[in-house]
């Protein structure tokens, strides 16, 4: 059974079909890349999986259970978490608080617990704190825990967002262009981080990225979208040599590099 499966998913906005009868299968434990031209519908796929949009038609299964139509917060609670293409951290909260909010669905204190103290609440609060620090450490931000997140440099904000998403202890992590706006060295660090997330935490990674070195470097399987349709799926090298992909996405320079290789 695939961990995540999209069957015949279509998403329309008014007259525009952003995702068109798309089938995708992600097996547990893979790093799966999704690429395609600007406006191909990649982010829309993420929004569909996380419940931000309801698909116009088709169905989505997670661990065999149908999840389309469920509210986003309960999908997250089931084990799917994400980052955003345009960073969406909680700007005027500290880095640590950002990650603590990520622990929301792994804890259960309600309004009454917060007012009436007890051993259970103290224990849970301690657990939240410890686990959150752990994830901050994982992305290398433990020394910045008290800094307001809006004052972090861009690259660190990206990593903070990843830590926050990891704090939900997801089965699958959706990363939307995590390396955008970074230089080579930072991109290499992100690639490392992605691999570590999969290898040490066992989290399946679903990755959207425009930087070929990053996607091709970490993904085991890559699918290519164009105008909402899947035009190709395979290993990185299969995808990179596919004529349709070159035509629609990679362009001549990629062809040049490929020839050079």
């Amino acid at each position: 059974m695939a961990l995540l499966e999209l069957k015949e998913i279509t998403m329309q906005f008014g007259g525009l079909t952003a995702v068109d009868h798309l089938d995708l299968r992600l097996e547990e434990g893979v790093i799966f890349g999704l690429i395609g031209p600007n406006g191909a519908g990649k982010t829309t796929v993420f929004n569909l999986v996380t419940g931000v949009y309801k698909p116009t038609s088709g169905s989505i299964y997670f661990k065999g259970e149908r999840i389309d139509g469920k509210p986003p917060y309960s999908i997250t609670a089931m084990g799917i978490s994400r980052t955003f293409q345009n960073i969406r951290i909680f700007k005027s909260l500290s880095a640590l608080d950002n990650v603590k909010i990520g622990r929301h669905c792994k804890s259960s204190m309600n309004l009454f617990h917060s007012v009436i103290p007890g051993p259970f609440t103290a224990r849970e609060e301690r657990d939240i704190e410890e686990k959150s620090m752990e994830y901050l450490r994982m992305v290398g931000l433990e020394h910045k825990k008290d800094i307001l997140s809006k004052n972090l440099p861009y690259g660190e904000q990206r990593r903070l967002e990843i830590a926050r998403a990891l704090a939900c202890e997801p089965k699958i992590l959706l990363l939307d262009e995590p390396a955008a706006g970074m230089n080579r060295q930072e991109k290499t660090e992100i690639m490392d981080l992605v691999r570590r997330i999969r290898d040490t935490l066992g989290v399946t990674v679903f990755l959207v990225e425009h930087d070929m070195k990053v996607v091709m470097g970490v993904s085991e399987t890559v699918a290519v979208l164009d105008y909402g349709k899947k035009i190709c799926e395979g290993t990185p090298s299969q995808v990179q040599s596919d004529e349709r992909v070159i035509e629609a996405y990679l362009g001549r320079r990629a062809r040049r590099t490929r020839k050079a290789v």
Binding site: P72, S81, R88, K91, L93, H104, M109, H113, S114, R164
Partner: protein
């Protein structure tokens, strides 16, 4: 020396502060602009008054009931309207406040436009400050808890909060319920203090007054809200020597305070910076730049013009 007049001001401050702290949870912490908070206060005030006048129930029970009934009305308002965002929510809450007022003006049991009089005078300084203490305790506990963080997350970015597993609708309703609960308590205290209530006492201006306290003090900051309530309770009294010019100066004072501290007296800064800022004097341009550089804020529905 504490004379009855001073005690009076202290009591009024306490009642205002409880109300503003309730609103702060809704607007300052959760980021939902509410312009109908006085509606909850009036629900509380009338609940307490009617219970004591008709059922002769004990004072403490009246207060509690005032909070509970107001809290329930918060849930009733919250469920349908919290789907609305930004200023659309604001106008719905404003509408709620007006609907409650008109209802109370027309109902038999509330005495209509005559209001309710001869409410036993029970509220005193000790009770008000006990309630204020409880309110502060509850609010500070909530803000530091899982629920409080989730509420702040909703304020900062609702979409991201939901993506983190936060059930924003349910939490917003909870915030409304708690905020309304304390507004209700403050209404109960008010009714038992002034001994006479009338629907017109809880109009839009009352809602605006408590919003001013929250914003002027610094949204989301408990000491800030207390300070805001203190300043806005005390200022009109302190300005009495101005006689005819009093309210004119009060208006100018509000503008001046906002310009001087665009993010509220204790908003987004620690006290050290505040002291530094006051040394610098009033440099309007520079002050403005100290504010957040972006113009998102609460209810940040930016709709442009068409």
């Amino acid at each position: 020396m504490i004379d009855a007049y001073t005690i009076q001001i202290l009591v009024v401050f306490g009642i205002n502060a409880i109300m503003a702290l309730g609103l702060n949870l809704i607007t300052g912490v959760t980021g939902q602009l509410s312009l109908g908070h006085a509606g909850f206060m009036s629900v509380g005030a009338y609940t307490a008054a009617i219970m004591t006048l008709r059922l002769h129930t004990p004072y403490v029970l009246n207060l509690l009931a005032a909070g509970v009934v107001a809290g329930l009305s918060g849930v009733v308002l919250g469920f349908p309207t919290l789907r609305l965002y930004g200023d659309y929510l604001a106008i719905a809450t404003l509408g709620f406040g007006e609907i409650v007022r008109v209802l109370f003006l027309n109902l038999e049991i509330t005495g209509g436009g005559l209001g309710l009089s001869a409410i036993p005078s029970k509220t005193n300084l000790a009770v008000v400050y006990a309630c204020l203490g409880i309110t502060l305790y509850v609010m500070s506990k909530i803000q530091k808890s899982r629920v409080g963080r989730a509420l702040m997350a909703i304020r900062e970015d609702e979409v991201a909060a939901i993506a983190m597993g936060v059930n924003s609708t349910s939490l917003k309703v909870q915030a409304f319920a708690v905020g309304a609960f304390f507004a209700g308590i403050s209404g109960g205290l008010y009714a038992h203090y002034l001994t006479y209530i009338n629907p017109n006492d809880f109009g839009f201006m009352k809602s605006i007054d408590s919003l001013s306290m929250v914003v002027l003090g610094g949204m989301g900051s408990l000491p800030g809200v207390l300070l805001g309530a203190a300043v806005l309770t005390y200022a009109p009294e302190k300005l009495r020597f101005l006689q005819n010019y009093r309210m004119i100066c009060y208006g100018a004072f509000l503008v001046f305070m906002m310009v001087f501290r665009p993010n509220g007296l204790l908003g987004g800064t620690d006290l050290r910076q505040l002291v530094k800022a006051s040394f610098k004097g009033l440099n309007w341009g520079a002050m403005a730049k100290q504010g957040a550089r972006t113009r998102e804020g609460i209810g940040g529905s930016k709709d442009g013009i068409a």
